[in-house]
Symmetry: C2
Subunit: 346 residues, 2 copies
DNA sequence: TTGAAAGCGGTACCAA
DNA sequence: TTGGTACCGCTTTCAA
């Protein structure tokens, strides 16, 4: 079979000529809503098929005044967290007839420009985490629907997130139940609202517990495995480690587990460790952690965007921003102490 | 600060009017390549800024005859594998000035239609794994550059993949070196060319080794953790398990580890287990496995597409399809026997 | 250096 | 039910 040469796509004019009708009729026949004789439609479809015709999306977007595409911006895609969110977003967007454009801000120079550029190509936009400044968000939200995911709300903009405080409390109570009293929190609350929420929630439990518990904050450089290993290692070497190490996420916790192992400490005997996210690796490391409905985050964002795009969006009585906090779930494993497979719902 | 109302974007005409020039001049001033007086440019830029002007991408695409966007199709995004590939792709595409559209075929009804639809929106397309039939690929490749990633090559179409046979051999030799003789391969070679390659490579080692080794094929339903757990569990219960279980990927292997643990078998004492992919979880499970340059797969695809799009693409002496096989690396851990941290490059 | 105008490939209104 | 045609918003000759 010979390799077909790259052919430039056929246009609606060629189809019209071939079918012996006007381009208006071709357009109608192809978008089967409008009145067209069965015979005419047949001829048009035949011509289109012969020419392997596919309408130009830019032309269509220009004429229709919509992109039929949504965007999603995320910091990264390593670790299942963002990937799951993106997946949930894509699934719903596709189902609602929109393509999905992605933008990873990872190690990009000018994030603001990139986000604005993306905005020019989509009907609506989801921003995951702290990927762009509030000013950028506000600027974009002025011209098209925006939904914030897992991020501090910006006035007038929709946002979905998962609960941190509530489950952090549940975690704290669980650990107090184990009898631990000296805690350390691994992570930088200033780095992300999620971390801040987790820290705050945990701290509030200790405060409420009649003061018989201490909590040290151990800031980390980032949220990855190496950062956890380093910070936990330092903490351990400094002597007199806490009873329990609350890590802002699973990667930090996995790093902490490594550090503990390297230092010859038994987990949870000498040191209890907990994480957040419930990565696959957490299950194999026996890590007590918190599971989040990540896919639902993305799905909700996509659904909301679709609604905003559909609706006329009344300009003056500015529509109230939607807010939603999805529930998370405490997953108890062995790293926090001896009781195998209890699971708390929150 | 009041919430700004959704405003329809300004057009080039409004900018032109405001700056007191023609739209042609605005266009030139904004794409700074063409000759425009400094004074004129200043006025145009000012007007554009005041109106918060951003050119319409569909209009631009239509006029320029290019989308300035590439697409990537993948089965899923769970597990780091695809995510990494997508990330590598996005990074390079962005750097080369293209936006990225994604399409997850996961549980979609009409994949072929979705892929064709995506093709209408991009200048070039990368297909990851067995996401669309060869006929669909050929059809799309006729009109625009396509690169296949981790998939059997289609005549006339570029493709990048990682090596399977070679490293599978290295793995086989390593295990023979451990003294194992009775092997089982977990996975369905017919499911994917990768699995087929790994199986073939491993088998060839045994064949070459003077026949003193046996290899049973244990087909699985899919490549996920549960499938591995089920298949390995069945195998173990059937009695007389092999010395070593070669799993087609890490998820299967992790499942097998669970099954072994549940059956009270010691790994690697009673049963050695190996995987493929080097997931994060593999490291915590002490799993011997094979690491692949996933990000490079995506990056290479993006780079090739860009080149194809740039070049005139001579139609008649049909340009030869590019092929590349990226090297993989054997990662030896504890699950295959007692020698802690040796690492083979392949 | 600038402006006028012809596309780019569709959609949709208005007549016929 | 169909055709003619005016847009959609931008790029890019061609002249001035």
């Amino acid at each position: 079979m010979p390799v077909k040469a790259l052919t430039k796509a056929a246009t609606i004019y060629q189809v019209a000529a071939r079918a012996g009708v006007s381009i208006a009729t071709v357009s109608r026949a192809l978008r089967d809503d409008t009145p067209v004789t069965e015979e005419t439609r047949r001829r048009v479809l035949a011509a289109a098929a012969e020419l392997d015709f596919a309408p130009s999306q830019p032309a269509r977007s220009l004429a229709e005044g919509r992109h039929a595409a949504n965007g999603i911006v995320f910091p990264d895609l390593v670790g299942p967290y963002y990937a799951e969110v993106v997946l949930g977003y894509e699934a719903v967007a596709a189902q609602l007839g929109s393509s999905v454009l992605i933008l990873a801000t990872r190690d990009r120079r000018d994030v603001a420009a990139a986000v604005r550029e993306l905005a020019r190509r989509v009907d609506g936009l989801a921003l995951l985490g702290r990927t762009a400044g509030n000013d950028v968000v506000a600027g974009i939200a002025a011209s098209r629907p925006v939904v914030l995911i897992a991020r501090d709300p910006v006035p007038g903009t929709d946002s979905v997130r998962t609960g941190n405080v509530h489950t952090a409390r549940a975690l704290g109570e669980h650990l107090l139940g184990h009898g631990y009293r000296r805690f350390a929190f691994l992570g930088e609350p200033d780095d992300s609202p999620d971390v801040a929420g987790r820290y705050a929630g945990f701290r509030s439990v200790l405060r409420a517990s009649a003061g018989d518990g201490s909590l040290a904050l151990v800031p980390t450089q980032g949220l990855d495995l190496e950062a956890g290993e380093r910070a936990a290692g330092d903490l351990i070497r400094r002597g007199r480690p806490p009873h329990a190490l609350i890590c802002a996420n699973d990667e930090l916790a996995l790093g902490a587990l490594r550090a503990a192992r390297d230092a010859g400490l038994d987990v949870p005997g000498d040191l209890a460790v907990t994480g957040w996210d419930d990565l696959l690796a957490a299950s194999f490391a026996g890590l007590t952690t918190v599971a989040q409905p990540m896919r639902q985050l993305g799905a909700t964002a996509a659904r909301w965007l679709n609604r905003r795009i559909q609706d006329p969006a009344p300009a003056d009585p500015a529509p109230a921003a939607r807010r939603r906090v999805l529930p998370t779930r405490l997953v108890v494993r062995s790293s926090c102490g001896p009781h195998p497979s209890e699971v708390h719902e929150t």
